[in-house]
Amino acid sequence: MDLNYTPRQQAFREEVRGWLKENLPAEKLASYDTREGFEQHREWERKLFKARLSMVMWPEELGGRGCDLTEWLIFEEEYYAADAPMRVNQNGQLLLGPTLMEFGTEEQKKRFLPRMAASDDMWAQAWSEPNAGSDMAAISSKAIRDGDHYIINGQKTWSTRAIYADWAFGLFRSDADSKRHHGLSFLMVPLDAEGVTIRPIKALNGKDAFAEIFFDNVRVPVENRIGEEGSGWHVAMATAGFERGLLLRSPARFQQPVRKLIELYKANQEAADRDPSIRDAVMDVWSGAESYALSAYQSVGRLARGEKIGAESSINKIIWSELDLKIHETAMRILGATGELLSSAPQSTDDHGWLEGFLFAQAGPIYAGANEIQRNIIAERVLGLPKA
């Protein structure tokens, strides 16, 4: 065990910190759940890409700089510490990207990954269906083989920012008679293809954060399939593992708001201390964010030793989603009566976006597999308890 950063790692940290200081947008970008904000975020992603900082772990030839996981953690720490913009192309970069790295052909990698790293292509996921939420195997959208194409029909939903995105990826039933996990294929679909209709879904906050995607005889070439025909479930499970696991929610994403929560608490301490649970919650989320960060470093070390991270990623999912909720619940308690005000309200005292974060945190225990499902997975696959 050696908890010192190497000189190379420290130099990388300095480089990232310096670059961000030089290049951060002077003004806060608009919400990426609006068209304007989405394009502002795309511009920012392009700037990151040009500095080879958009996907630091990817190989140089795919637009990255071949960093290891520790360097990625360092990048994330500096990125969040600088309050840099949210990453708008995460569905591509963090979910599909690693999937392509593992299951894609060389041709697919070259075709998709550099454009993804540059955010020339923006990606949406087409995962859920109206009757397949946490039960991902209940998929009914079909992709029926017709020569060297698939013909897609069906409907996907909860596709984040799909109304602005260029591409979507998801699971489709390529064997019309198959059931549950069998006969599914993993396809990538251009969202400007003929037969694709996208209808926004307005979220809690009134913004078009999600969409439904309707497929009406959409033709997709077979080379857009990842993995073998019919083995999409296997590929998707790996993707779901990335999502729940380390990459989607790097620890810095929670350590930074905890730092700000502590500032908020200290600035309002007298009022906050009338409810002793607030101070206790602040201490608890401090410990939770630290522990999540430590666990990430531990996982990075284990992966470096060649170990695999399996069903434990379900524990990760529960921990970060509940932590995020508690951080924002506590901030709302401290804000008290002005907490309900939108940031546009003249009397708002919320200069960090706590309210937006509080709303978003509500979704954490639900998306990427509801926490109830994650607890089943932990019980069955980590502890070995019998299935119901």
Partner: protein, 353 residues
């Protein structure tokens, strides 16, 4: 000793419920939200026709002379149906304040009569709330200046709107100049009146929160009974059952707390403030849990604008910190129960008169 409501009182609550069910369906509320004023004169008129504005106006001023206990039933219905109107501010809190003003306030009786008829809206700016709900369309607003009570007509205030996450809320920063013309009570007279107004406001919020909790529970029960996953209604999964059972338990045990608080206020019990703060916290926690477990069992559907759950969740998050946030009420509880003469232990349940 009888800690239940009469058949008449329960029939009254049922009648209100049926009335609001018809007049304030979620679709109608969404339309009202979209209007500039955020309020429906039509709905307000109908409520006045039903006598709801006259509930706690003394009989001699044309009212029904009912008390806080009936309002604890009424506010639950306002919460349950998510009524986008500060009816309770006018007809309960302000009416209560005006009722106890000294006779020297010459407008007193007239105001009460107008409230009873549904002819005026009154907003109230208590220092515990940083903003004033509905001041933009109130005929006059009751305001605090160094403890004095002022009744300030709409023409003498400027308002700045502050949008809330709850689209049904209309919160105003009120700018005004105190003058002897608007003063209706000096600070010494005003102090106990403001305190009582705060208690009444907090109790009104507690009732609404409890109604919201019940509504979110009902919406969630309906949803999980029909929504299927893994081939079964999700309501048959134990984790979903236990989430909703916990909400039902919180509601069940917050209810008598609300009623004791209302009784204590109505009967001038010395522990009324303690009981009201307990009710604010208990009903707030029931509603907060109902929102959290409600959205959890709704899955992604609960995160949408389209599904009604959001209307009630956002109202909950807004009201939880209204008329005193949780810290305010916990501080009042602390002060009371850690005092040397605190009413603790068996046999003290109904406090001291």
């Amino acid at each position: 000793m009888d800690f239940t409501f009469t058949d008449d009182e329960r029939a009254f609550q049922d009648a209100i419920s049926r009335f609001l069910m018809t007049e304030a369906a979620p679709e109608a509320l969404r339309e009202i939200w979209e209007t500039d004023a955020g309020r429906s004169p039509d709905l307000r008129n109908k409520m006045a026709e039903q006598g709801l504005t006259a509930l706690s106006i003394p009989e001699e001023a044309g009212g029904l002379g009912m008390g806080d206990l009936v309002w604890s039933l009424m506010t639950q219905e306002l919460g349950y149906y998510g009524i986008p109107d500060s009816l309770a501010d006018t007809a309960y809190v302000s009416a209560g304040l005006i009722s106890v003003l000294p006779d020297s306030v010459s407008d007193r009786k007239g105001w009460l009569e107008q409230i009873a008829e549904g002819g005026v809206r009154v907003a109230i700016g208590h220092p515990v709330n940083p903003l004033v709900a509905d001041a933009h369309l109130a005929d006059f607003t009751l305001l605090n200046h160094e403890g004095e009570i002022h009744a300030v007509p709409r023409s003498l205030i400027d308002v700045e709107q502050n949008p809330s996450i709850d689209s049904s809320r209309r919160l105003c920063r009120v700018m005004w100049e105190p003058s002897s013309a608007t003063r209706i009570a000096d600070a010494e007279t005003g102090a106990p009146i403001w305190d009582e107004a705060l208690n009444r406001g907090a109790l009104s919020v507690a009732g609404q929160l409890l109604g919201l909790a019940q509504r979110m529970l009902d919406l969630s029960v309906d949803y999980v009974a029909q929504r299927k996953q893994f081939g079964k209604p999700i309501g048959s999964f134990q984790a979903v059952k236990h989430h909703l059972a916990d909400v039902a338990s919180k509601i069940e045990f917050a209810k008598p707390v609300l009623y004791r608080a209302a009784y204590s206020l109505q009967h001038g019990n010395a522990d009324a403030s303690l009981h009201i703060s307990q009710a604010h916290v208990a009903c707030g926690e029931a509603a907060h849990l109902a929102a959290r477990h409600g959205i959890q069992v709704h899955g992604a559907m609960g995160y949408t604008w389209e599904v009604d759950l959001q209307m009630f969740m956002k109202r909950t998050w807004a009201l939880e910190s209204s008329w005193g946030d949780r810290a305010f009420h916990k501080a009042r509880i602390s002060a009371a129960i850690f005092a040397d003469d605190a009413p603790l232990g068996p046999g003290q349940t109904f406090g001291r008169s």
